[in-house]
């Protein structure tokens, strides 16, 4: 009550300060952490972008497709004996366990995405519901899945899972890049390049682009629209499941019913930043958003700033380029 009795820390009085020396000192570690988060955002962002490209639908429930993958990782690894402590297993056992978790998480997320499409969206499509109805359904589905998990697992986060001890691999200007960051960034980028080539080169990818460009003409040309839609949802789910493994690797205690919500919003923002409907845009947007948020939080000295900075930059970019940085839609992307 009496302010004189509460000698506040200097930072309490100046609620906004720019700590440039700290950013300079932590620049490279912020960069690598930012890229790691960015890679995870980008994998989830692809799910938003692909579905938007094909259906013009913002699938808000995609964040729950992702969190189901996180739970799959949690249950797989904790039943295999992983926990908060570093596992005492030999290398190959860990590789096998993590591969199993990856496959199961991708499956779990893909099945969730598939069911979501069949139960929530397909009936609406068959009745030619207006687009707004899809959006509300998506939000409703998101809450439904989230609170089903809440009822099942309760409000507390699950026990942390340590998959392996991150070890220094090399250092850049005195900042150590560890194996964990490297694993996440490289694996995520390889997956994204794979997806990009899949969309631009494969038969199914051509189908996806055709439906995105003009569903009716595509159908007349012999493209099975329903199959393309389902495939799109499943691809998004597979990628979200892979993102889930990397997310738990990065944030071991992040498995919680509401854990997908903020990440989902950021991944969606990443998709918009890069240009929604554009596969490469999602990649670029994700990495940028991860970097900007991390620089911002170090510059402003509090983790609460991550999202503020990321979204202010998002709005500024959209003011200048409303269609996002790369802008082109899925349908028009070059083959």
């Amino acid at each position: 009550m009496l302010p004189s009795l509460v000698p506040l820390l200097p930072t309490e009085n100046d609620w906004i300060t720019f700590d440039i020396p700290s950013l300079a000192q932590n620049f490279w570690s912020a960069t690598f952490d930012g890229l790691t988060f960015g890679a995870i955002y980008a994998l989830v962002a692809l799910g938003y972008t692909l579905v938007y490209g094909v259906l013009n639908l913002i699938n808000f429930a995609h964040s729950e497709v992702f969190i189901v993958g996180c739970y799959a990782v949690f249950f797989t690894l904790s039943s295999l004996g992983f926990g908060p402590s570093v596992p005492r297993l030999d290398i190959w056992a860990i590789i096998l366990n993590l591969l199993l978790a990856l496959v199961l998480a991708m499956l779990a997320s893909a099945v969730t995405a598939f069911l979501l499409e069949r139960i929530a969206y397909k009936p609406l499509r068959q009745r030619n519901a207006p687009r707004l109805v899809f959006l509300i359904t998506a939000i409703g589905a998101s809450f439904t899945i989230q609170y089903l998990i809440y009822l099942w697992r309760g409000p507390s986060p699950e026990l942390a899972l340590t998959m392996f001890r991150p070890t220094p691999i090399f250092d850049v200007f005195g900042t150590i890049v560890d194996s964990q960051q490297l694993v996440i960034i490289i694996a995520a980028v390889i997956m994204m390049v794979g997806i990009d080539r899949f969309i631009s080169k494969s038969r199914t990818g051509r189908g996806i682009r055709a439906v995105a460009q003009d569903p009716d003409t595509a159908t007349l040309m012999g493209v099975n629209k329903e199959r393309i839609i389902i495939t799109t949802f499943i691809i998004g789910g597979l990628l979200a499941g892979a993102a889930a493994l990397f997310y738990v690797m990065k944030i071991p205690s992040g498995v919680q019913y509401s854990g997908g919500f903020v990440l989902g919003i950021k991944a969606f923002a990443a998709a918009v930043l890069g240009g929604i409907g554009n596969v490469r845009g999602a990649l670029l947007g994700g990495l940028l958003l991860g970097l900007i948020g991390n620089y911002g939080q170090i510059l402003l000295g509090n983790s609460q700033w991550t999202d503020v900075v990321a979204f202010v930059v998002l709005v500024l970019v959209l003011l200048l380029r409303p269609e996002g940085i790369l802008g082109t839609s899925l349908g028009r992307s070059k083959a």
């Binding site: 509460v6 402590s85 290398i91 026990l159 998959m163 070890t167 694996a187 080169k201 205690s253 983790s303």
Partner: protein
């Protein structure tokens, strides 16, 4: 056909990442060994504490009489992210009331619990409901500082005495409340004691202070940073519910701190320490009473081996009679942080009821003029509701258990 290729490349990516992690893990034990050398100070555990010989027991003289409606209440966390801290307390209270009722057939005190989830935003509802029940004569709670701040006025308006067994924010007694009593030392005592412990016994040269955004964390962070002086390498804030601490951890690593003091609760403290050690931090992790719980060890795993705790709480597990009786109430669990403080606070109120103070006003003035020993310390409050000369104890993690290392900060 192309789908096959994509699947192949996905699989290749996955395998590649696993291989990398494999190398990572292979190198793992090496780093642990090299970091082992930096665990410098070894402070031995203590195995007994002195209990005042004349400590008041809840049983009393066995001749007390009181109306059958006489009720004491606990208000605080029963669920929520930091629930275990509340469970420790109400089991202590339950034990005191059980012992009292068993010894006094003429006075069967009822016990009611009100769940606040430890959340200041949710606490006002249950407390408002509690004060409106006329049979409740005294309350043990609320355990946390934020919720205590939010509800102190409600107790004050109804003249209902309440003893907090664990809220340590110093400003709580600056509100002019006449019904608020603190059953332990506050953070104006704990903070400097923690600072002295860090720079003295632990020999830390560069301490990084990390505080959460609760009233408790901010208050304790402030009083600790003042005591650290030039040993303070930096200050960082985290948020309730935060999961990722990588930015804070890079700052700590770049500052080359040899100790971290975390002012907050275990819900964030455990993942923070876990990620800190995961990133290769080899120094000590010191945390206050809000983190000192077995849940911390469970959630942080092996990483918790670097942890020390400060707490204005007595190690109740070292009082054999108390510890064995407590296990009957808690279904086998050892007494936890603040179990004995909850037990003592309940004893203060029960002895008042036994002495015939069976209205809210009488019980309040009983507590005001109370001047006797409890198991954990001497209980005599000043006009603001603070105890005189409370002690701060140190604890450490040893073989996956929290063990006491005796008084600190003296």
């Amino acid at each position: 056909m192309y789908r096959k290729k994509v699947l192949t490349s996905l699989a290749a990516a996955a395998t590649f990442s696993m291989l990398l992690s494999a190398c990572a893990n292979q190198a793992g034990p090496g780093t642990t060994e090299s970091s082992g050398s930096s665990s410098k100070v070894n402070i031995p555990a203590i195995s007994k504490v002195d209990v005042p010989s004349g400590a008041v027991k809840p049983a009393g003289d066995g001749k007390a009489t009181c109306p059958a409606t006489t009720t004491l209440a606990y208000a605080g966390a029963q669920t929520g992210p930091n629930a275990q801290l509340g469970v420790n307390i109400f089991n202590g209270i339950q034990l005191a009331i059980d012992q009292h009722n068993k010894a006094n057939p003429g006075c069967q005190v009822q016990f009611k619990k009100f769940d606040t989830e430890g959340d200041p935003n949710k606490a006002t509802g249950p407390v408002t409901q509690l004060v409106s029940e006329p049979d409740i004569l005294g309350v043990i709670g609320l355990p946390f500082s934020g919720e205590s701040k939010a509800t102190g006025n409600i107790f004050e308006q109804k003249g209902l005495v309440h003893i907090t067994p664990s809220a340590t924010n110093p400003t709580l007694t600056e509100n002019g409340w006449t019904t608020f009593f603190r059953g332990l030392g506050n953070d104006a005592v704990q903070g400097p004691a923690a600072a002295k412990f860090l720079t003295g016994k632990l020999g830390a040269k560069k301490v990084y202070l990390v505080q959460d955004d609760s009233d408790y964390g901010i208050g304790l962070g402030t009083s600790t940073s003042a005591g650290l002086g030039s040993a303070l390498a930096g200050t960082e804030k985290v948020t309730t519910g935060q999961k990722d601490f990588s930015a804070v951890i890079s700052k700590i690593m770049n500052a080359k701190a040899d100790a971290v003091f975390y002012a907050g609760y275990y819900a964030e403290g455990a993942p923070f320490d876990q990620q800190l050690v995961g990133k290769g931090f080899t120094g000590t992790f010191v945390a206050p009473d809000g983190v000192k719980d077995d849940q911390f060890i469970k959630q942080a795993g092996d990483a918790s081996n670097n942890a020390y705790f400060t707490c204005p709480c007595l190690p109740g597990e070292l009082i054999p009679d108390f510890a064995s009786a407590y296990k009957d109430v808690s279904k086998g669990a050892e007494p936890g942080t603040y179990s004995i403080e909850g037990y003592d606070a309940a004893t203060v109120l029960l002895s008042g009821i036994d002495a015939g103070k069976q209205s809210r006003a009488d019980l309040l003035s009983w507590v005001k003029s109370y001047d006797k020993d409890g198991f954990s310390k001497h209980y005599k409050w000043d006009a603001k509701g603070e105890l005189q000369a409370p002690t701060v104890y140190g604890y450490k993690v040893e073989n996956g258990k929290i063990v006491p290392i005796g008084p600190i900060g003296e």
